[in-house]
Amino acid sequence: MRLADLTSAYPIFLLAILLAVVVGPSATNVAAAAVFTLWARFVRVVRGDVLSVRERDFVAMAKAAGCSHSRIMVRHILPNVVNGILVLASLQMGWVILVEASLSFLGAGIPLPAPAWGSMVAEGRDYTTTAWWVAAMPGLAIMATVLSLNILGDWLRDKLDPKLRSL
């Protein structure tokens, strides 16, 4: 848990930039930086959920019935904490897409010629006076995707796990 606290204050963006300059920009780097900075939030949610679920009666009953530790973890506790993971994942996905787009815009994300919305906006910057849509449309696509994910995340949270409302 201490390690989780240490990594979560660190800006994902800077780490990705460092990786991009050291080993060259790639989609793998962006993903690695995202994992390094975001795993801690999942640890925190799952830990909290498991701590409360394991006190419930059905876990005690499973234990009394002679289930092994691993069986209790996988069959009885895991299904009860999956909701929290799903909600957090859908809410974080939008943020990661925004970070990736910003990195690609700077040339530190997904390298050309692979298509990325962020680098498409960067290319369109040179034509804003004659053809505004070159930069505007990829940005609109990013916004639509992230907005959909955020709405989906909000909806999932309200349906599955209202106590996560503060996320």
Binding site: P11, F13, I17, S102, G107, V146
Partner: protein, 305 residues
């Protein structure tokens, strides 16, 4: 309180160590620095001499120690591109970034708090929805793109505000607004939900029963208690502003750390990128530390937990 303070100090120090270790490891991944410093015509003796002079023949642990000492003494190497010391390059750009961040954070609080209160007061009405929709939108738009649109509309088409960097204090308006948009949305939503919770509690009912005007109930009694989640969000929000300002500075040609990093990425100027990551990371850790301690100071429930 002292125990909590010491715990936070330990945590922040450990985070700084982790940060420096990551940066150090990255600096060793870039390949042999001797190849860069010595030209292709260098002899085996040149290599050996410089290897010894730079301490590269020692163990990795000692090299890391030297790296730490140098960093603490303010020596972060020299820029490949300009030949200046990295610390000098950083300090030239730090002020501009600080001004932009301060303007953006100020704007966020000035706009976010009234919006949040307004939405909570009118829960479930069209007013509530009209705050909720833009705040969802604000959290979904890439800031570099918002910046480009704002320049196009307010600077190019309407000509109301400058987008360059040579027209005084007005320059800061567009980039600061672009940066603040994300935070205004976040704070408004956070404050709305926490205020709604507080307004349900008994001391609010008592205050109302005493005949206090609604304005006093909300702004004096309820808001103080509803601000806790907003304050605890401030550290995370600061890191977000730092992240987003990297991109927004590039869009607005703002002469800060973001612009510097962008040019350093293009030029593969590793020492400068390393310096930015180290300094910005340390600032982020320091701000989070201050926010944590402040939060514990304000909220006895955290202090005695």
């Amino acid at each position: 309180m002292l125990r909590l303070f010491l715990g936070r100090v330990t945590e922040a120090t450990a985070a700084l160590f982790l940060l420096s270790a990551v940066v150090f490891a990255a600096s060793r991944l870039t390949g042999n620095p001797l190849d860069l410093l010595l030209g292709p015509g260098a002899t085996r003796e040149d290599y050996a001499r410089l290897n010894h002079a730079l301490g590269l023949d020692r163990t990795l642990g000692i090299q890391y120690g030297i790296f730490l000492l140098n960093a603490l003494r303010g020596d972060l190497g020299t820029s490949f591109r300009s030949g200046e010391s990295v610390v000098a390059v950083l300090s030239q750009h730090l002020l501009a970034s600080a001004i932009l961040a301060a303007a953006a954070i100020g704007l966020t609080w000035l706009a976010g708090i009234p919006f949040g209160v307004w939405a909570a007061q009118h829960r479930g009405t069209p007013v509530d929805a009209s705050v909720k929709l833009p705040s969802l939108l604000g959290q979904s738009m890439p800031s570099f793109w918002v910046g480009l649109l704002l320049i196009e509309v307010f600077a190019v088409k309407l000509g109301w505000l400058p987008s360059g960097t040579n027209q005084g204090a007005l320059n800061v308006i567009l980039p600061a607004f672009t940066l603040a948009l994300f935070g205004i949305a976040g704070i408004a939503r956070l404050l709305r939900s926490s205020l709604l919770e507080v307004l349900d509690s008994e001391f609010v009912t008592v205050a109302r029963a005493k005949g206090m005007p609604e304005v006093t109930v909300i702004w004096k009694h309820a808001l103080k208690n509803a601000m806790f989640p907003v304050v605890s969000f401030a550290g995370l929000y600061f890191v977000n502003v730092m992240t987003l300002s990297m991109v927004v500075e590039v869009v607005f040609a703002w002469p800060g750390l973001g612009q510097l990093t962008f040019n350093a990425i293009l030029a593969r100027d590793f020492p400068v990128v390393q310096g930015v990551v180290l300094v910005a990371g340390a600032i982020a850790i320091a701000v989070n530390f201050v926010v944590d301690v402040l939060y514990a100071y304000l909220d006895p429930r955290v202090r005695y937990a």
